[in-house]
Symmetry: C2
Subunit: 337 residues, 2 copies
């Protein structure tokens, strides 16, 4: 049994047990998420994505450290870190790698780090991450950092859930990586060139700025359109966010105060422009759609006659029936019962 | 209107028009796929995945060239290439990059190359790729090469659709890329170290072989289990595939004859072991599940009262109702009508 009162009161052992239930997608985990839901919606949600080798784990550690030790004299914030690691689609086990977390964070009860395995199922990763985020949120963490390996569709979906998305690059990772950058860059609210003490940092910075100039007009129009559709108070003067390119050296902490300043600035922008509200609506829409599909498939699986399913399946396998027609046959059968 | 007879007779203009309809997910494209389905199931489907910078586009070109000009004196095969490019989740437009295709392929009517944009929707990429593969298959291409940028969940899903999956690596792409490799490696039927004339090729080859040794026992057990569940003729003697590590230089063609030999060998293994049949069942299962979910969501959207949806949505937004409960409320309402 998960002790939800203990979770809400900050008991880390109860919290850890609950996360395991959620990750394993058990009934208990699901039930906990339902009961905790009224306690969610308070945390600041930051996504950090980037290719392997960009040093994004170190950067996440530094950001956590700076939230714990704010330079501007504000109250320290508690920080949850969800690290989504690439894993085997077959064994289901995560290869967590040697994640060396900073000494300065270890033993700090205001920081909690959880490495998560991605599962093989399509869409499972984004959905499980939503569950994890709700859990950290309900448990009272002020800031939640979600760290993902960039480039894939699942990562883009996860980035969409965040209020602020950081895309981390590093000099010298190869120039033909640009095609991939261009895709992931459009989800960036803040671009970070980490390892900025290495040769080629200026080149990377310039390349990113050039790409931003190309991408921006399109993005701008897009957001204005969304704005008009979704916000009640629709003024002509729309507050726009210009994605900054920041330089950091996560191993030494260089550039971190400036990055923290941009994080606060983006938070203010989200609140003032109404974009935060827009993002929250999008996230809930995504979650509802996903859960609806899965629940409908569950109910279908319970209702459908196994022998009948097998017969139709074999007709598709032998190319006598198209998958589209098979779906119609299934749903007519189900509807008729 | 799509002229399906022309498509089946090899008319490339009609084929190209149809692909556009499928990519844009139009009614016409969907209808074409339904009608073409009985003509599918004949092509050899090869997935080629790898990070940017591994030279996998050049490798795909070389493989196509060798299928067109077989060394073993067999009949040349027609080749379709589907290149899945990373794209913006917002604009929907693909950044196709400067894909320099070999001179030796251009003008050859037996090769058809299509670059595909990934769309923003979750699971959309894998589904659209299935549609494209069916189209190439029905149009009579003997071999279909699906090229994806490795590492993400969507790429893993696409790799699963292929009969044979090649994972391409290159020397000197950074050692901390290993975590990601470990995940993607388990989907590899053949590992290729491309750019094998560069320094560090032996090191990369050794690292891959070491990883394979670690991963193999697990994979082996897994496949034996699947085998027992899925095949009718269940003999004790199970034919196992040992993933080879091949070295190539795609720009010069070095190592290509050996790679083609492994491709043929894997095809024989798939047929003899019964794994091909197992893979086809899996793919159809995946496709049916995906299409069922989407069709159920479509029907839900048509049936549900907009005002009612909005009321429930707002309760979720204000955290009064959990998404799980909202889904139950929606489905009860729908079921009661």
């Amino acid at each position: 049994m998960i002790d939800l009162d203990a979770v809400l009161q900050g008991n880390r052992l109860a919290f850890s047990r609950m996360l395991t239930q959620i990750e394993n997608d058990t009934e208990e985990g699901e039930q906990a998420l339902i009961e905790l839901y009224p306690h969610t919606g308070k945390a600041i949600l930051i996504g950090v994505t980037g290719a392997p080798g960009t040093g994004k784990s170190s950067l996440v550690n530094q950001i956590a450290f700076h939230y714990r030790n704010p330079e501007d004299g504000s109250t320290p914030k508690t920080v949850g870190i969800i690290a989504v690691d690439p894993s085997s689609p077959f064994s289901g086990g995560a290869i967590l790698g040697d994640r060396i977390r900073m000494k300065s964070l270890s033993g700090d009860p205001g920081v909690y780090i959880r490495s998560m395995a991605s599962r093989g199922s399509l869409g499972g990763l984004a959905n499980m991450t939503i569950g994890m985020v709700h859990a950290f949120d309900a448990a009272g963490f002020d800031v939640i950092l979600v760290e993902t390996v960039g480039a894939g569709q699942a990562e883009v979906d996860i980035a969409r859930l965040a209020h602020t998305t950081l895309v981390v690059e590093a000099p010298g990772l190869g120039d033909d990586i640009q095609a991939i950058k261009a895709g992931i860059m459009e989800i960036a609210d803040i671009l970070v060139v980490n390892k900025a003490d290495r040769p080629g940092a200026e080149h990377t910075e310039r390349a990113l700025k050039n790409m931003l100039q190309l991408a921006h007009p399109q993005l701008r129009r897009k957001f204005i359109n969304n704005h008009n559709d979704n916000l009640e108070n629709n003024s002509d003067e729309i507050n726009l966010w210009e994605t900054p390119v920041m330089k950091t050296v996560a191993t030494t902490g260089e550039g971190l105060p400036e990055l923290m300043h941009q994080l606060r600035k983006h938070r203010d922008y989200l609140n003032e422009s109404g974009e935060l509200r827009y993002k929250l609506r999008n996230q809930i829409s995504f979650e509802l759609k996903h859960k609806l599909k899965n629940e409908m498939l569950n109910r279908f699986n319970k209702k459908i006659d196994g022998q009948f399913y097998k017969e139709i399946f074999d007709q598709v396998l032998s190319r006598k029936l198209s998958p589209q027609k098979a779906v119609k046959v299934f749903l007519e059968k189900e509807g008729g019962e």
